[in-house]
Symmetry: D2
Subunit: 320 residues, 4 copies
């Protein structure tokens, strides 16, 4: 394999640039030329492809976002788009491709592989919602960004004897909520993976105030319901709280990657190139028990399950 491509797709995640850098530099050390495919599958189909050298990826290790850009492109679900993509790759002499992104991106990657084009995936999404891997690239950074934001809003909540319901990202996964809630001493963490008892939450908040706490914090995963709705449900049962919702929004997605995401991105990117040069395809690099492993796209979609760390959710209960 003499020439490969690399692209990012779906929502951007901190650490994606670290992975791109690793693809380029590990590639060069293996004698492989690397080409950037910009703007995801849209750029692939439209031929937005250009050479990336070691120099081009200098200084990007600590940057948030993705230097390769990303875009939505539902058309890639159709065979026509996929074949156009393969054609573009061949036109540029590219023999394999690394796709960095989430679940949706991997569907596209699998289709390329099914069309006989060697493809390796790298799980890059802040949501930590990909089957088979303990962590996705960007998750650690996002958790720390959220925790910093929660530290900030607690200052304010504590100054006003207030209860805050903070909605955090995660799509259908509660991982961001669990980790950031436990890290922030939240009185309740509400996630999609576990039913919650609104009366218990209200009781815990009241107990907290009774014991002298000057504020209450509920961390709510977006996959359950909007923050305003949970506030409404709480107020329906109990009107006495000085309660507000906070939606953290886009700030969760950006920012300089943590050390862990830089290391994970570098490891993922390097391994992905190695796999291509070893003739592999249809695989995703993942991390399990601190080891870089591989899983088939097929297994990720059909046989493996993402398991959030529910014992941490449980642990939080004892610490409020």
């Amino acid at each position: 394999m003499k020439r490969i491509g690399v692209m990012t797709s779906g929502g951007d995640a901190p650490g994606m640039n670290a992975a791109v850098r690793a693809v380029v530099r590990r590639g060069e050390s293996l004698g492989v030329e690397v080409y950037a495919i910009t703007n995801g599958y849209k750029g692939l189909v439209e031929g937005e492809i250009h050479r990336l050298t070691s120099n081009d990826v200098g200084g990007i290790l600590n940057r948030g976002g993705t230097m390769l850009f990303s875009a939505r492109y539902p058309e890639f679900k159709e065979k026509e788009g996929q074949l156009k993509g393969v054609e573009q790759l061949k036109k540029h002499g590219i023999e394999g491709v690394v796709v960095i992104g989430g679940d949706g991106s991997f569907r596209g990657a699998q289709s390329l592989s099914n069309h006989g084009f060697p493809t390796i995936g790298v799980p890059g999404t802040i949501d930590n919602d990909i089957a088979g891997t303990d962590y996705t690239l960007g998750f650690d950074t996002t958790v720390n960004t959220v925790v910093e934001a929660l530290d900030r809003v607690r200052d304010t909540a504590g100054s006003h004897g207030r209860v805050l319901v903070v909605e955090v990202m995660g799509r259908d996964a509660g991982d961001i909520a669990i980790w950031s809630g436990l890290s922030s001493g939240a009185e309740a963490i509400v996630i999609p993976e576990k039913p919650f008892d609104i009366n218990q939450i209200i009781k815990d908040l009241k107990d907290g105030f009774a014991e002298g706490k000057n504020q209450g914090l509920i961390v709510l995963a977006e996959g359950v319901m909007p923050a305003a709705e949970l506030v409404r449900q709480i107020q329906e049962v109990d009107h006495t709280f000085n309660i507000r919702e906070v939606v953290l929004g886009h700030i969760q997605r950006g920012g300089q990657p943590t050390a862990r995401d830089r290391v994970l991105g570098s490891s993922f990117g390097a391994r992905a190139v190695e796999l291509l040069t070893e003739g592999k395809t249809g695989l995703c690099v993942e991390v399990v028990d601190e080891e870089i492993v591989t899983n088939k796209f097929d297994d990720i979609f059909n046989n493996l399950k993402h398991e959030p760390k529910l014992h941490l959710h449980e642990l939080n209960k004892f610490l409020i």
Copy 2:
């Protein structure tokens, strides 16, 4: 004067704790005992008053929020509440009080002074909307918090070729928007003090994309309209943008104070005590041209005007 009180009122602001610490320690150095009045005017009326020593304010210099808590208490607009407040102060042997807060808090402070009770104000609010002072306590920290958040959302916007409309705090003042917008290279800054031209904004965004920018940023002061409304207005004129609103919300208010707010809070707090011991009342400490000055509450309400730095708003136009 042998015994004074200190309280925070209204929205909390980073640097309030620095001011409280300075009141206590400068007080002690002048032989004055300091008492905390917690939860603002509500606590005052209800007698939430206790001694504060030098030790009690150790380690609070770098904390956000206010260790004295704050609360809304519209009842203090009535004479009855005010007289109850004076009574509580006298009961504790307190001869003067420092009130740290915003415009509404100063109304209460003025009424205390009008009832013959020595009162000095300290302008503590993130909004920078108090007449007579160049800066309020908390403003510098909030601007830096907003800028950091804008740096983060730009990562994401740039990865997706997106336009973001970010709504920032400031009540009726555009100061936070002007400073954070200029600091973040915003394509447009929309503030209450200046009419805006939606066609110009759209043109600037388009010019930016045409020149190769991969994103657009509009910083919107909350005093103009909600972010969703500005998005709607833009889309009414032009549907082609990939545009989203972001409401920064409560994270703007908390966080560790910047060096400037720690220094300003320390200067304000120390000067406030000195003024009380000099027999002054009905005044607010403020900062003009880097000097700590005093203005009468009367002038702040009736004769002085807050002037945002419109030349910075103007400057931004040349730099996008």
Copy 3:
């Protein structure tokens, strides 16, 4: 078990407060009273022991340092000191103790256990140099602090075409250097666990400048030699570099813990109490493959080995 003690010993590490909080709150949920032993073994021997309630540990989760203080006390190596310690514990009705600290602290803990006093250890040290555990409490925070500092010094190095030799902590372990070096794109990472080739380093630096890099970064673990010495050795071979040493020093040790260290500290602390209530002693809680496990002090001292992630050190070579 109705009453236990908790102490921190040795160098402080971010996350220690999270562990103390978890000991107290998990303890309370199990019906166990918790007592603080302040200033480490010195405080133990001198009877610095007081009750800690759930309220006392409110708001400490995000604080650096240790609220229980720490102190050096070599006298605890002697049997006399140890017996005095046990006596103090019994005098206060304490039936078990959690010791949070590093290798030296565990020697003391083991001696308590050997005297028949139930003792559980929690590995709290920034150096990541304890056998049997993948990570120690504080390591993740320190790595991120170092990476942030390296991002900063790179700004400056790049502005001057300079080579920087940055000495980081870690005692005899290279872990901090490996993680922070890989995260910062260091041209070389010099650690105690691997011999280094000064000519190779010089060649890599020269190659970097030849390829257009505007700076060079060498991350040096303190366990190898002082930064000034490595600068001297490089200059002995090649005088052409604009080279400087930077010793990061104490800033590496403090700061608010990362999410990961807050979660790890909470998990460690909670598990340590549970072990005491289960009648265990002479054990340390550790983390292996993302699971909280236990190892005997004996094994930690004699049979287990700390293994830094040398594959990351290797990986860095391909990415410079």
Copy 4:
């Protein structure tokens, strides 16, 4: 004036990139082409000159260091070097130049102006040691960086009952020490502009410990003496402290600029270009009482004096 140059010289300072960006963009809005002169006076003499467009300065507003690089070049003190510089400028059709840097850089700028070449200076240095201006570009960022580091080391000092002597930058000026010391609640701030009394410092430290403080912090300006020397002097008088020196070093210089430095850099850069187009030379833009003003290089060197805010130094005394 149709074509101007911009360069940075001397030590880099956060905000320099904001100033460069403003020179380019304000220049373009005035119909002036801007050229980068890289590596300071060395690059000038050697003809390292290339066109800078609006696009080239996109995304640099929030970067530390200087994208134009900097270098020492004592040879520029000689007339020969200066004339070579003028020649290079003329060769590229450049009619005026903006020099961003400190005192030494302004000497070079003045010599260019004396040779009849229009030159405007921008005070960019972290040390705040330039006559005539209240603040230099980079000072606010550095103070905040130092304060953050002091917050961190205090965590550790407090955990060990330790006194820390922290040496901060500032060359012959005490400004960084005064601002960061007051912001950090330092027990003593030692600066070149004021004699200090070692017995008073020791007394204050002892009083602090006696009143229950668990640590002591001395902030020392590098212009007075090295930290190790002050530690030695203290220990000569009193051996009882657990005392250590910390030299903050290079981390003070880098990092993303604060909002204030981004605004100041933008204002300075824009005004500098305007002055050139107005036919001015031999001037430096400065900030006095929040207004951008100009002073002649001559006055900066000979008639104006830099005044650190000694009242803040005084204020700190009352707050420890």
